[in-house]
């Protein structure tokens, strides 16, 4: 899923300072699971904002709403009849949701309430970690199911680099070396011979490098 984290409250306050009628808009998908932008977080943020403005004696309307998804026309349409009641929306969805809302409601400022961090997994209670950078051409079959693109700090495809120490990456003792994980897995699979297969120069045109990416499926179009 997409992992996001809450923006610092001071930053959000600065963003909405100028507006009097604000809608805090949550999303029921990824950001709910990673506890950054679901119904619960919408409630908390709205209360904090209310208290903040009350303390300054400022009259503001702060409403709450959480949609099933913000990356989908169907659900975003649900706020069309109320959108004109607001001067601004703070979206707690990932960057995709924020943009989809912004594109749909051209005359209402839509501000991000979270920082979108990565595509990752819920590794432990309160711990979300990156697993994929959507490079558009998956190499996991060749790397024991562990991704060197997203999990190696240098995207080394024939690793490890010389900095791997005690299973950790040179950038930090808290970061696993992706290549240690790859080798551990290849060993467990009895496929260490695969380690010596050279990964060729990668075609990064399916990655960010190729510009904005689209997927078109004629068979599902209407």
């Amino acid at each position: 899923m997409i992992i996001a984290e809450k923006k610092p409250i001071e930053e959000i306050i600065r963003e909405v300072e100028a507006y009097d009628r604000i809608l805090v808009l949550g999303c029921n998908e990824c950001v709910t699971v990673c506890e950054a932008g679901g119904k619960k977080e919408v409630e908390v943020l709205a209360s904090v904002l209310r208290m903040n403005f009350m303390a300054q004696d400022r009259e503001k309307t702060i409403d709450e709403r959480t949609l099933e998804r913000q990356c989908d026309h169907e659900y975003l349409e649900e706020i069309r009849d109320v959108i004109d009641q607001y001067d601004a929306v703070i979206s707690l969805a990932c960057g995709v949701g924020v943009q989809f809302a912004a594109e749909k409601y051209m005359t209402t400022p839509v501000l991000p309430g979270v920082n979108t961090v990565c595509l990752g997994a819920n590794e432990d209670r309160g711990l979300w970690t990156e697993r994929c950078q959507a490079c558009g051409s998956c190499v996991l079959a060749r790397t024991g199911g562990i991704c060197p693109v997203s999990r190696c700090a240098k995207r080394v495809l024939n690793g490890p680099c010389g900095g791997s120490t005690n299973g950790k990456c040179e950038i930090s003792k808290d970061t696993d070396c992706a290549w240690q994980l790859i080798i551990d897995r290849l060993k467990a699979l009895g496929k260490m011979d695969d380690y010596e297969i050279v990964a060729p120069v990668k075609d990064w045109s399916t990655d960010r490098a190729g510009g904005p990416r689209t997927v078109t499926r004629e068979d599902v179009k209407i």
Partner: protein, 310 residues
Amino acid sequence: MSEYVSDSRLERVLKAGHLGVTSECGPPRGSDPEEIKKKGMLIKDYVDAVNVTDNQTAMTRMSSLAACVHLKLLGIEPVLQMVTRDRNRVALQSDILGAASFDISNMLCLSGDHQSFGDCAQGQNVHDLDSMQLVQTVRYMRDEGKFLGGDDIKRPPRLFVGAAANPFADPFEIRVPRLAKKIACGAEFIQTQCIYNIDKFKEWMRRASDRGLTEKVFIMAGMTPMKSVGMAKYMKNKVPGMDVPDEIIQRLAGVEKKHQAQEGIQICVEHIQELKEVPGIAGFHIMAIEWEEKVPEIVEKSGLYPRPEV
């Protein structure tokens, strides 16, 4: 390994069966070329070639290629180090051609330290290719006379191609397979990480030799003299992938502070003497970090002077 692939002196020395000697110079953090020229002149007659580092530890410095040209103009043979951290395949190929246009004849392919160690920790990194793919790229340009994109190169580069190896790096089981992979990619010489754990290094050499790898590549053992016990402790504890046995630290700690540098040189010379006898060792890469003036002494005391005429 008889035919020459480049005009490299290093290549000729190694192929003639002599023990090769290389050293390294770091370009300055400014545009004054005098410093690198001075460093180069200090060691000129004691080494076959001088590595020029490429923004090492991710600190912004004068470009490796420019510094190589300064050395080349003084008659010193440079080894152009290139990291994949900062340049994509367009820039790498372009710099390879630039180097070849000055008849620079050696290149060492590296991935480079992560930028978080340097002065641009907030910058992007590139890593379009990795170090092995860079080796493949230079070999392709040289041997096929083509760009990665497939077009012909007019006057292809003639470079003797090297890579680094760390005999002590984790994980243990891939130390030798990783060397095999670099050779398969086309590395012709290898310069190793600094060696202090001689027994472990010999074990690595034995395994490399058992796989026939020492027949396929020239392995130059990396040597860095310790300046003090403080440096030894720092290398042991702070530098990733470094193996400094306690006995080295104890030996340095056992002498008065003002004699520690000399003791460090003595250890280095002893290590070279010992490793000269190890089958498969093709030479030494002496990295006296900001201590270039000691290289002549180390080379002489190790019996590696004068350098052979080739």
